[in-house]
Amino acid sequence: MAAQALAVAASHDGYSAIAFPFFGAERRGAPVLAFTRFGEERLRVRTQVYEPHFVVVLDESLVETVDVLAGLRPGGMVIVNTTRAPDRLVLSKKAKSATVDATTIALKHTKQAAVNTAMLGAFAKATGLITLEGVEAGIMEVFGRRLSKEIADRNVAAARAAYEATRLGEGDSGRVYAKATKWLPTAQELPPGLATPPMETPFGRVGVGSSPSNLTGGWRVNKPVLDGAECTNCLLCWFYCPDGSITRGEKIVEIHYEYCKGCGICAAVCAPKAIHMEREIEEEVKA
């Protein structure tokens, strides 16, 4: 929806624009892609964007697993939702960067960790290509029509706050990514038949029982924290955790974070209130 709002914003500012998502089986919180393309001339290219001028990263944890600068054009810019200053980003290469703590802004204005509209404000500030008025028009058009005016208003407030809070700088190089992170076998490498048996590949286990290769911990906004002294080992959190992130220990339960999506059910079902949720911040803001 934000990509669409950006396209409306661009069109409001006199560009021609298109936007579309990457079609897949997205779930709330899962990594997703969306594209916006705008320019002064009529757009004739309708493919996904492979060589972007700007990359907007809505969740900083993505930077650890995905080379977000892959395909970025020389002189391009990356805009990241993080509490870090732009100069403290470590990416695969040096690049102009802008950062904003959109999660805090979104939580404050929209009461949800939906950071996409705040990032539109950051985009307007960082690139200077789109006006803040354009962004507001985009949000009102897309969110106001599909959700409600009240929700759109709150999102506009978030975009405005992010516009003010965005800082510009240059990210550092030095992060090294594995060459490929996906298992993309050729037809010859695939075993015959329709099913994928359990197999070890250079990219981890695939096939039956292989989902633990897929770490879902990066989806999280808040993380559960256990106060061991209060735990009565009733095991309700262990029973209810949809992601199997809680294990039974010797005396009390243990929380693991590799797969935890931060839904907060463990904290909600904990009768002695031994588990509470807290915002996960990778690094405090440096003034």
Partner: protein
């Protein structure tokens, strides 16, 4: 009898699946798999479960799993069971996990057929009350008044959420006189595990209907899944019942908490008018009158001396 503490540490539905945070369906599947154990074959139709458990090249089940078509859950699972029997592996449990769309609407004819033939499978419907996978479209089990993308809110009285009441699938299955039909809710773990245990032990067609709140589609907080599952029962909206070998038992007399307590936690009911809430209250009352009468009629049979044939 399995209690929470007796459950194995081992999971057969593994971490790393891609369900939304707080997914009730994922909870249902994880707990049912814990009880069923390693000697199980799973069938899934097109559903959220299929998408979040089996995204190529990953698969979240530690046991063999199979998908064919949306409408084929019961019949495909029955086929697997017959083949296993033929191979001398009759001790393997075959379970079909289907959503409410794949059960109440699209999978109904195969389900009815398999139930009528009393195929030896366990059919678990995780009921999240709409087609959540494709983006919250109404299904037969979507409750009255609920907003979905195909029952949108308009300006007329027609356009205020779904106009029909929830389809009672367990009652349809009871009409097939299968060995075991039960409803369960995540909010009541002991009752839930007891029913999965029973369903595992029995032979013949077993149907388990589990309410699986969907925070995304119900427009609720992701940590409210369990509360919603509890409140649905305590308000009387979702009945916990068991139909075992021709005897119907209502497992829990709810507290009849006002339905508003349940509705107000969910954005999909935010628009409800007083009139609509009154309709829901009336529906709950009528449903309980009907279910109580049914339970009385289908209660334990008095022991009658068997007529001696001379």
């Amino acid at each position: 009898m399995t209690t929470v503490k007796d459950l194995p540490r081992e999971d057969y539905f593994l971490s790393g699946h891609t369900a939304c945070p707080g997914c009730g369906g994922a909870m249902v599947v994880r707990e049912v798999m814990k009880v069923l154990g390693p000697n199980t074959v799973v069938y899934m139709p097109a559903s959220c479960l299929l998408i979040f458990s089996d995204m190529y090249p990953y698969n979240a089940f530690k046991v063999p799993s199979l998908q064919i078509l949306f409408e084929t859950s019961a019949i495909a699972a029955a086929g697997v069971k017959r083949a296993l029997k033929r191979l001398g592996k009759d001790d393997t449990t075959v379970v079909a996990f289907a959503g409410d769309g794949g059960t109440a609407d699209i999978g109904m004819q195969a389900l009815s057929g398999a139930a009528e033939r009393n195929e030896d499978i366990l059919y678990v419907c995780y009921d999240n009350e709409a087609y959540m996978n494709t983006g919250i479209q109404r299904s037969g089990t979507t409750p009255f008044g609920a907003w979905t993308t195909t029952t949108p809110l308009g300006s007329t009285s027609e356009g205020q959420g779904k106009n029909e009441f929830k389809k009672d699938v367990p009652r349809i299955l009871m009409a097939h006189d299968v060995p075991y039909v039960a409803t369960a809710s995540l909010g009541f773990p002991a009752d839930f595990l007891k029913k999965v245990d029973k369903a595992k032990a029995k032979k013949g067609f077993r149907y388990l209907h589990v309410l699986a709140p969907c925070p995304v589609g119900w427009r609720a907080e992701s940590d409210s899944t369990v509360d919603l599952a509890k409140l649905a029962v305590e308000t009387g909206i979702f009945t916990l019942l068991e139909y075992e070998d021709g005897v119907l038992t209502l497992n829990r007399e709810p507290r009849f908490t006002p339905v508003r307590e349940y509705l107000k936690l969910q954005g999909r009911f935010k628009h409800l008018s007083e009139g609509q809430i009154a309709s829901i209250e009336r529906w709950v009352k009528d449903k309980w009158e009907r279910d109580r009468a049914l339970a009385k009629a289908l209660g334990p049979k008095p022991k009658v001396p068997v007529a001696i044939v001379r």
